[in-house]
């Protein structure tokens, strides 16, 4: 097997064919993961210590009967045990999948029902938890028919079990990462070691990553940005990474800037909303203690990239040494392991100003002067990484010329083969080796501009929410006419992300008198199942929702009707 070498200007990673080999060949004394809770609770594991912990987890999983190529689901809080169990499963040749950890808002019964759907699809014999409360929650609520055992992860001890002896096979499935959807409807993306390493090689080349780089992350590990860029990348390339949990960060966003300053981290990935959140939710008096001069690439990813968010962040923190070109952009998705495109590592993402009306009505980008009336600013997501091809297509898959808006389709050397156990869903999106992403965009001068979604997906703070999931929950309420609810996203300029709006018909107009109680029940149900808060719920009389010719609620037309009736919802709507 020939050695892998770099394909660009980044560091090379030689002679490994799997992620397991990459971990086994790491210098044992080199720092790997630093887990930050607060100033008094910071712990670092070197690669040697981490590998030993992963071997302990592998030994425990094997003792629980987990075999090579078995799938195993991890329901654990962000921390060393989760990271080590994930790596330990891979050491065994098993296939780990991380699911979102239930929090206090989660309805245990609904979470467990969703989890049982995932378990059935993955045919996972084991769920790993790390604490008694999660174990009790799952034992009490998981349907008895699932046949899955719930086991605890190993605790860090002085044991030194040997590395499992599994023949390296680059084409073996390394792990499953999940695409958007509620727990029960998630689509599992199975990725081989070869696909992951290929993606990482491209990413390293595009960002010119070297041994002197270090990563910071608050991102959840059940999301591709957190798992691939902030765990698999440092694991395979032997880089240090500083992590804190999403819940820890969201309560004190300034800690990200504090850690970037203290640890001199050079790379980080965030969804767009985080830039505005950091600009507006950190006390100005705290800025004096930040030194962001080491940060060379803060990659804006997983939500549409907005110029306003980038500009606000750079302006807020330029006095802290932030480079004016530190914020980069990328277009990425779980189905491609991670990134398809990346903006130039030497500059800021390119911008073009186009006529907004032409873009919306004729779906074509007509460049105009930045200060022209009706101009819209589009921010590039960059150029294709090596091995990646992008086409902009129309509804039947024909390629569109540069400047025309269509669906983004990709064909790459690290693309998934299909959704795990779901050939039906796979057939909807894979066509002759091209993955139709469902995202709308255009290509111009070799750069990709992502305009929005063609599948009505709502993206709230980097989290993908299917409107169908919200509508399904709303329609379970006895006062709501079944099938007469729509959910959609509207831009929240204060947060730089989307808010969820719901419109639903009551069965009987008299029930509008109970709107406060109904609305409260709907909010309860949505947050319990989807872990997301809805901004506004509009209860409407019978026959208010616009129906399609097939008799179903017409989402886009109803959205327009609601926006016309409630213009206050149109707060600085972006392009699409």
């Amino acid at each position: 097997m020939p050695a892998r070498t770099d394909r660009g200007n980044g560091m090379s990673r030689t002679h490994v064919r799997t992620l397991v080999e990459a971990l086994a060949t790491a210098p044992p004394e080199r720092p790997f993961v630093t887990m930050w809770e607060d100033e008094d609770d910071v712990h670092t594991l070197t690669f040697g210590e981490f590998t030993r912990f992963a071997c302990l987890q592998a030994e425990q999983l094997r003792a629980h009967g987990l075999g090579s190529q078995d799938t195993v689901v991890l329901v654990m809080q962000q921390g060393f045990p989760l990271l080590a169990t994930f790596a330990g499963a891979m050491l065994l040749g098993a296939v780990p999948a991380i699911l979102a950890y239930p929090n206090f808002k989660t309805d245990p019964a609904k979470y467990s029902t969703g989890l049982s759907g995932v378990l059935a699809n993955l045919k996972a014999p084991i769920v790993v938890v790390q604490d008694e409360s999660t174990e009790t929650l799952l034992i009490d609520h998981l349907p008895r028919t699932s046949g899955t055992r719930i086991v605890r992860s190993a605790v860090l001890s002085s044991g030194r079990p040997p590395m499992p002896d599994i023949p390296p096979d680059p084409d073996r499935i390394a792990f499953i990462q999940h695409s958007a959807g509620t727990t029960g409807l998630q689509k599992g993306v199975a990725l081989s070691h070869a696909a992951v390493l290929t993606q990482l090689d491209h990413l390293v080349a595009a960002l010119r990553i070297t041994e002197s780089d270090s990563i910071y992350s608050w991102l959840p590990l059940y999301h591709d940005m957190g798992l691939i860029a902030c765990f698999m990348l440092p694991l395979a390339y032997h880089l240090p990474v500083v992590m804190q949990s999403p819940t820890n960060w969201v309560a004190q966003p300034g800690t990200m800037l504090q850690l970037l300053s203290e640890r001199r981290c050079t790379l980080a990935w965030v969804p767009n909303f985080a830039l505005q959140f950091l600009s507006r939710r950190v006390r100005p008096e705290d800025r004096a203690r930040f030194d962001l001069s080491a940060l060379r690439a803060l990659v804006n990813c997983s939500e549409p990239v907005r110029a306003q968010s980038i500009d606000e962040f750079v302006k807020t923190y330029e006095s802290c040494g932030l480079r004016s070109d530190a914020v980069k952009s990328s277009f990425a998705m779980a189905e491609n392991v991670f990134a398809v495109t990346q903006s130039d590592v030497d500059g800021t993402p390119r911008r073009v100003y186009v006529n907004r009306q032409q873009l919306l009505q004729n779906r074509v980008a007509v460049p105009v002067a930045p200060d022209a009336i009706g101009s819209a600013c589009l921010v590039s997501s960059g150029r294709c990484l090596a091995g990646q091809q992008v086409r902009i297509i129309d509804a039947v898959g024909r390629s569109l010329p540069d400047g025309e808006v269509g669906e983004i389709a990709i064909h790459t050397d690290c693309l998934f083969d299909g959704y795990y156990g779901r050939p039906d869903l796979t057939a909807q999106v894979l066509h002759d080796g091209w993955y139709w992403t469902g995202d709308l965009g255009l290509y111009m001068d070799g750069e990709l501009y992502v305009i929005g979604r063609s599948k009505d997906l709502i993206i709230v703070a980097g989290k993908n929410i299917h409107p169908q999931d919200v509508e399904h929950i709303v329609c379970q309420h006895p006062a709501i006419h079944d099938g007469r609810a729509v959910a959609f996203g509207v831009h929240n300029p204060d947060l730089g992300t989307e808010d969820i709006i719901v419109a639903a018909e009551v069965e009987n107009e008299n029930q509008l008198a109970d709107r406060v109680q109904i609305e409260r029940a709907l909010r309860d149900a949505i947050v319990a199942e989807l872990d997301v808060a809805v901004r506004s719920i509009f209860l409407k009389p019978p026959r208010w929702i616009v129906k399609s010719t097939a008799g179903k609620a017409a989402r886009s037309t109803t959205r327009q009707k609601l926006l016309d009736e409630h213009p206050e919802l149109r707060r600085d709507q972006p392009i699409a």
Binding site: N103, T247, F277, R281, R283, I526, V527
Partner: protein, 84 residues
């Protein structure tokens, strides 16, 4: 209900939920009921610091400790330190 409690409730109604007409008391679940999102907790925490004149280390606060206005003041009393 104390002035401080009323101050927090008024702030949450007008600045966070942006619906002054909504009924909230010190025991109304806010995050677990979907009335507010976790992202709003950082604003609420800063307001709580101002209202109580305490420095509250967010790292020691879990979202469940902020689910009602009553819990917020209990949390401030437990982990807050007087501002210098």
């Amino acid at each position: 209900m104390s002035d401080q409690t009323q101050q927090m409730i008024d702030y949450i109604k007008s600045d966070v939920i942006r619906r002054p007409d909504i009924q909230i008391d010190e025991n109304t679940p806010l995050v677990s009921s979907g009335l507010i999102d976790s992202l709003a907790l950082v604003d609420i925490l800063m307001k709580l610091e101002d209202v109580t004149n305490k420095r509250i280390s967010a790292g020691k606060v879990q979202p469940k400790d902020m689910d009602t206005v009553g819990l917020m003041f209990a949390t401030a009393a437990k982990v807050g330190k007087p501002r210098k």
